[in-house]
């Protein structure tokens, strides 16, 4: 029923020809009223009759084996039902798009904080009490818990283009800089949660997950059952940012417990559980080398890094991703080392790669501009390559130069002046900027659209993690079928529906948006048939179909339901053209001379990211990313104990996500119109991650401009800012 469309060539811009006029508009989210009134049902809200409560028990050693548990120590606690260990339990969440079971460690312990058992009780209080009291016996092994301390590391062959060594030798002006970034946490406000219930050999799991199509396979594989026996529900997800890409230990534990006890079981991770065992963003150590001619043409680019992960995890933070396509050079070289450590495993967190890699790259660009005596905006404008520097692909569209110019103009960049010169009392004021870039993708995705009269339903297992999927799929369908968006109902987050890309890597709107567009397009053709005209002659608008002298209300024309399903996947255009969102971030900060405190006073980001499907939700995504940039630049730092690797900053009082007071009211976003014909049939690029990519660097560069001194170890905490000022004076 669902034939697959492959993106082999640019497609006509149908969404610019349809007449409903809702695409791109700042429409309010259809799910908004439920969210603001507390009626949106998130995982932990979906409690059913007779539910039992589970709390995960964490390991308190960094490596070894569980040799026993004193069940008697907790079974006597009133309300405790069971302490469950099971060979099917998983060590940590699946990596994004794994589609298979993560490591199932049995009684082995691989890191401090690993879930090793589930306590189930009649009440949450009893389960929590028992989980804390449970006495566990271990056999411990030695383990390295820091990248510096481990001897187990793997270094890849360098990825290169041209001859970096020769270009570096010959460069007239050079910067060779080292940066570090700490581990970071996604810290979505909704803790990871699951409610599982078995019926007739099948399990239904409500869980807060981003990629249902993959999660269903992951759970089936983990439990050793057929995917047809698994249903996953996630109609509302309280934020993900990568941390809910893969099936988590709470869902597996809930499913196993529910099967064993024959009743529904809810497992909600405590905030501490979330920090302990949900995939973190790796810490990085980066070395950036940039070489240029006297007049500011970059000739050599190298960005080497060391990241970490636990044994058996295939993911490594792609730190130099943007450095490989943003600027051109005669020679480029990128080498990554992955240190294997016994600590909470690493995985995708919003914009893996760009989020931290661009802090290093764009700070180095700033320092190069300083060395050259060039304006940082000019340096960037001068070094935009014609083609992807590593593989020679064409850029699909790239309005980076426009973003840089418009940004400089709108921000008042011309008033910037020399570093360390502007003061207001104890505060030093500075401006900084950075490029934004985040590559964009199309991932296989399916949707179904049904139309009866002038009411349409969109069905896909796609998720809305705050991104605005409910809004944009309604808008796409409404635009294609000539309906008011209120007449389109969007059903998401149910694995019984057609399998979408899921939310991740900024590809959700591209992919699920395109499959929905294609399904709606099929319906258009069927309407044209009903009306007796060619598709090209059909106009759908305001609930009416017009074509070849006929004009009918859809309510009269479509009396029997029309149903169409469509699937899209990437094709030849992805081989010939490189698609990426681009932009420019500008920030103004005030730095306190005595305390080193940094206040962001205003930010502006100008972005071109293909067709904007909803101006309002797109802006929210962009702003969210920019504020994550503020967090990365100033406050966010996950700390691990140097002896056993346990997460020290395991709650929201110790891991500092930005709060209201850290974010100025003056946060501006400008979108530059763009259509990416090579990306997908709706001409979009990803949005969710471009905002963060480079944003923190603009803040860090502003600090360097305010004080005349640069911090190289991020975040720029007050003590580091003061140290930077003191060392160099």
């Amino acid at each position: 029923m669902s034939d697959t469309f492959t993106m082999d060539s640019p497609q006509p811009r149908l969404l610019d020809q349809t007449g409903q006029g809702v695409i791109g508009t700042p429409m309010n989210r259809p799910d908004g009223p439920r969210k603001v009134s507390g009626q949106a049902c998130y995982t932990a809200d979906a409690v059913t009759e007779g539910v039992a409560h589970g709390v995960l028990v964490r390991s308190t050693i960094s490596r070894g084996r569980v040799t026993g548990m004193d069940l008697a120590s907790v079974m006597s606690i009133d309300g405790v039902i069971d302490v469950i260990t099971d060979p099917r339990m998983i060590r940590n969440p699946a990596q994004g798009m794994a589609g298979e079971a993560p490591v199932q460690p049995g009684d082995a312990v691989h890191y401090h904080g690993q879930p090793i058992a589930l306590v189930v009780a009649e009440s949450f209080e009893a389960a929590r009490d028992a989980a804390q009291r449970l006495t566990v016996h271990y056999e411990t092994e030695e383990a390295s818990v820091t990248p510096e301390g481990t001897s187990a590391s793997e270094t890849d062959d360098p990825e290169t283009a041209g001859d970096f060594d020769a270009a570096w030798q010959a460069a007239e002006v050079k910067v060779d800089l080292n940066f570090t970034t700490p581990s970071q946490a996604a810290a979505a406000m909704e803790p990871h949660a699951a409610i599982a219930e078995w019926k007739d050999n099948s399990v239904t799991v409500h869980s807060s997950l981003q990629m249902i199509r993959f999660n269903k396979k992951e759970l089936a594989d983990t439990l050793g059952i057929d995917p047809s026996q698994v249903r996953i529900l996630a109609p509302f997800v309280g934020g993900g940012f990568g941390s809910k890409l893969g099936l988590g230990p709470e869902a597996v534990a809930a499913a196993i417990a529910s099967q064993r006890l024959g009743r529904p079981v809810r497992v909600v991770m405590t905030r501490q559980n979330v920090f302990d065992c949900v995939l973190r963003r790796s810490e990085t150590a980066q070395r950036v080398r940039l070489g240029a001619t006297q007049d500011g043409r970059i000739t050599a680019i190298s960005h080497d890094d060391t990241v970490s992960n636990l044994d058996g995890e295939g993911f490594s933070e792609p730190v130099s991703q943007a450095s490989q396509f943003l600027y051109g050079a005669d020679g480029l070289s990128f080498t990554q080392t992955v240190a294997r450590i016994a600590a909470t495993p690493a995985g995708s967190v919003r914009a893996p790669g760009e989020a931290v890699g661009m802090l290093g790259l764009e700070a180095a660009m700033d320092e190069l501009a300083e060395r050259l005596g060039m304006d940082p905006v000019e340096l960037r404008l001068k070094n935009l390559p014609d083609k992807h520097p590593m593989d020679g692909r064409e850029y699909s569209t790239r309005r980076l130069a426009d973003c840089l110019r418009e940004g400089a103009e709108n921000f008042g960049w011309a008033q910037r002046g020399a570093a360390g010169m502007r003061r207001e009392g104890d505060w030093m004021i500075g401006m900084g900027m950075a490029s934004a870039a985040r590559s964009s993708m199309l991932v296989k995705s399916a949707s179904r659209v049904r139309l009866t009269g002038d009411r349409a339903v969109v069905e896909t297992d796609m998720t809305d993690i705050g991104t605005g999927t409910y809004a944009i799929l309604a808008q796409i369908t409404a635009e294609m079928l000539g309906l008011s968006p209120e007449r389109v109902e969007v059903r998401l987050g149910d694995s019984d529906l057609p399998g979408a890309s899921g939310s991740g890597g900024s590809f959700g709107a591209n992919s699920a948006g395109s499959s929905t567009f294609l399904a709606a397009r099929k319906i258009r053709r069927r309407i044209a048939d009903l009306l007796g005209c060619a598709e090209d002659d059909l106009t759908l608008q305001g609930g009416r179909a017009r074509g070849l002298n006929r004009d009918m209300a859809l309510a009269d024309l479509v009396q029997e339901e029309l149903e169409a399903e469509a699937t899209i996947k990437a094709g030849k255009t992805a081989e010939s053209h490189f698609s990426s969102g681009f932009g420019a971030h500008f920030a103004e900060v005030a730095v306190n001379e005595w305390t080193g405190e940094v206040r962001v006073r205003r930010m502006l980001s100008v972005m071109s990211m293909g067709r904007i499907l909803n101006e309002k939700t797109a802006r929210s995504q962009a702003l969210g990313g920019m504020i994550w940039g503020i967090g990365a630049a100033l406050t966010e730092e996950m700390q691990n104990d140097q002896r056993d690797g346990h997460v020290v900053t395991r709650d929201l009082a110790n891991y500092h996500v930005p709060s209201h007071a850290d974010v100025p009211g003056d946060m501006q976003v400008l979108f530059l119109e763009e259509r990416d014909d090579w990306a997908n049939p709706i001409q979009t690029k990803g949005i969710g991650e471009l905002g963060i990519s480079g944003a923190g660097a603009a803040v860090l560069n502003a600090i360097a401009h305010a004080t005349g001194h640069r911090v190289y170890d991020f975040p720029a905490l007050p003590d580091r800012v003061i140290a930077a000022m003191e060392v160099e004076i």
């Binding site: 009134s37 507390g38 702003l623 929201l652 209201h660 974010v663 100025p664 009211g665």
Partner: protein, 167 residues
């Protein structure tokens, strides 16, 4: 043990574990799941409700301590078909993304506007006797409500918009 609470105008007698928090009572015993748990430790504000008219983190309140108290939750502020001015402004300004922190933000903002109207100053007030609603005041006073989606500027726009409608 048993505690009597008036929630959104309705009196309930709840039997509960002595360790039960007001948050879990609201969510799991009374089925008022609009109030969210983000940390259970008073660090995020997702669980904000009004307790006798004042905003509190309900995860830090033991149910047993609140016999006879009046509680207002997000469900008592407005349902989808009859939203309060603040709720409408949140929708209009997109003062949320995932929506998980949103009930807490709205409860907190509801009380915050009242605090300013009553003249209670904050750390950033220029005039300690008559603080005015400004972006800086809101940023300071709303800082107990984290939003990882980082809708902060839009949340404050929404609050300002609703405050204007009311005036």
């Amino acid at each position: 043990m048993k505690t009597t609470l008036t929630v959104n105008g309705t009196q309930h007698e709840v039997g509960h574990d002595p360790r039960r928090t007001l948050l879990d009572t609201l969510r799991d015993d009374l089925g008022l799941t609009g109030t969210k748990k983000g940390c259970d430790h008073g660090q995020c504000g997702a669980c904000t409700v009004l307790l006798n008219g004042e905003r509190v983190n309900s995860c830090l309140c033991l149910t047993a301590m609140h016999d006879g108290d009046e509680i207002t939750t997000i469900e008592g502020i407005g349902a989808p078909e009859r939203l309060s001015a603040l709720q409408r402004a949140f929708v209009e300004r997109d003062g949320f993304q995932c929506g998980y922190c949103t009930p807490g933000q709205i409860m907190s903002a509801t009380a915050m506007l009242k605090e300013i109207a009553e003249g209670s100053p904050s750390y950033v007030s220029d005039d300690l006797d008559a603080p005015k609603l400004s972006d800086g005041e809101m940023a300071e006073r709303m800082s107990g409500n984290l939003c990882r989606c980082s809708a902060y500027p839009l949340i404050r726009e929404a609050i300002a918009m609703a405050a204007e409608v009311k005036e």
